[in-house]
């Protein structure tokens, strides 16, 4: 009798890639895993799939996925049904909601982490408060604000006095 183990081929998960030179302005939705190496400004909804923001990826958007991995830069809120991982090279300004959240040492994060409860439905509006610098309004505000240099103001800095 043959004892050769039968190897069942693993289904290959399809993964879409937004390449480093690509800029997407608008919502992204679908049913396959996504690797973002370029720039995305808009909501990304892949509720049943994984979203990876690669080292070169720059995202200004809310992300909805099953799992979310961040190696690049994200300004926006992240909602995952399973887990969110911010890698050492990753930087996130926004609120995270997932049953499990991992911040690797060296990663940059500013915002809130809610580790209870499932991610909201796709149609639901996120109710979390944008943290410092995360919201569009704040970014606008920040961009519009004149720097002390521009105004020719004196900084109240003892070391420079």
């Amino acid at each position: 009798m043959s004892t050769t183990p039968s190897v069942r081929p693993q289904p290959v998960r399809e993964q879409a890639i937004i390449g480093a030179s690509l800029v997407v302005k608008g919502d992204v939705a679908g049913d396959e895993d996504l690797l973002i190496q370029g720039k995305v400004e808009g909501k990304v909804t892949l509720q049943n799939n994984s979203i990876t923001v690669g080292r070169n990826g720059q995202v200004k958007a809310d992300l909805y996925g099953k799992t979310i991995n961040v190696e690049g830069n994200v300004q926006g809120n992240l909602f995952a049904d399973e887990n969110i991982v911010i890698r050492q090279s990753g930087s996130v300004r926004g609120n995270l909601q997932a049953p499990r959240v991992t911040l690797e040492e060296g990663s940059k994060f500013k915002g809130s982490i809610d580790m209870e409860g499932p991610a909201p439905a796709k149609s639901a509006s996120p109710t979390v408060i944008p943290p410092a610098g995360a919201s569009t309004e704040r970014e606008k505000d920040k961009d519009d604000r004149k720097s002390p240099g521009q105004l020719g103001m004196k900084l109240n800095n003892p070391s420079k006095a």
Binding site: R100, K110, D114, P131, A132, P148, L151, M153, L155, N156
Partner: protein, 212 residues
């Protein structure tokens, strides 16, 4: 660096190398007391004013909580401040840097050692601002240095378990320390009172402040 984080004379690295170990573990009675307040089945809102530390996020994941992480030192030192002539006020700055919804109330605030790096006016303004997001019973954990010198930048603290805290030094360069006394703290922290305090061998004094 921004205007109102304290600046003191630095001591040389060579002179201070032994005083600033890379990392050390200390028992934390105050933190232990704070964790004993946590009851199962309740959801807590926690504000962490230190840098993001993966181990701390993992530690808090055992509780039902919403954790806000705001690296106050980094936020302030990377922010360009306007001058007083242009309407600068600490209150405005904190309202801008730490913008929470009016209904937000923190149950616990982890200030770590960052308060040592604020001058008196900024310290008091921060406390007034945080008081707006505190409720009766909010607990704030803080480490106030009683040493003559402290590291140039705050430590990175990692919660190892309910009573052990790892101090990771981010710089071996030292600066003068304000050595805030309890009476001064009471003046600078309207609404808060000292619930517990413990002297540590490393020269820090742990405080648990209670908002009333």
């Amino acid at each position: 660096m921004s205007t109102w984080f304290r600046r003191w004379d630095r001591k040389s690295t060579a002179e201070t190398a032994e005083e600033a170990p890379e990392s050390s573990v200390q028992k934390s009675l105050a933190l232990n007391t704070l964790f004993h307040q946590i009851k199962e089945g309740q959801k807590y809102t926690i504000l962490d004013l230190g840098p993001p530390v993966g181990g701390n996020v993992e530690f808090f994941s055992q509780y039902s909580c919403k954790l806000y992480i705001e690296d106050l030192f980094e936020t302030i030192t990377s922010f360009d401040f306007l001058s007083p002539e242009d309407g600068f006020s600490y209150d405005k700055v904190f309202s801008y840097l730490l913008p929470y919804q009016k209904s937000c109330r923190f149950d616990f605030i982890l200030a770590w050692d960052v308060l040592n790096y604020l001058d008196r006016e900024a310290f008091r303004s921060l406390m007034i601002h945080l008081g707006r997001f505190s409720r009766k019973g909010t607990l704030m954990f803080s480490l106030i240095s009683t040493n003559r010198h402290m590291p140039e930048v705050p430590h990175r603290f990692k919660i190892l378990d309910n009573e052990n805290l790892s101090y990771v030094s981010q710089s071996s360069v030292l600066r003068d320390c304000p050595r805030y006394e309890s009476t001064e703290l009471a003046h600078m922290m309207p609404g808060f009172r000292v619930a517990n305090s413990f002297f540590l061998r490393n020269g820090y004094r742990e405080y648990l402040f209670l908002y009333e």
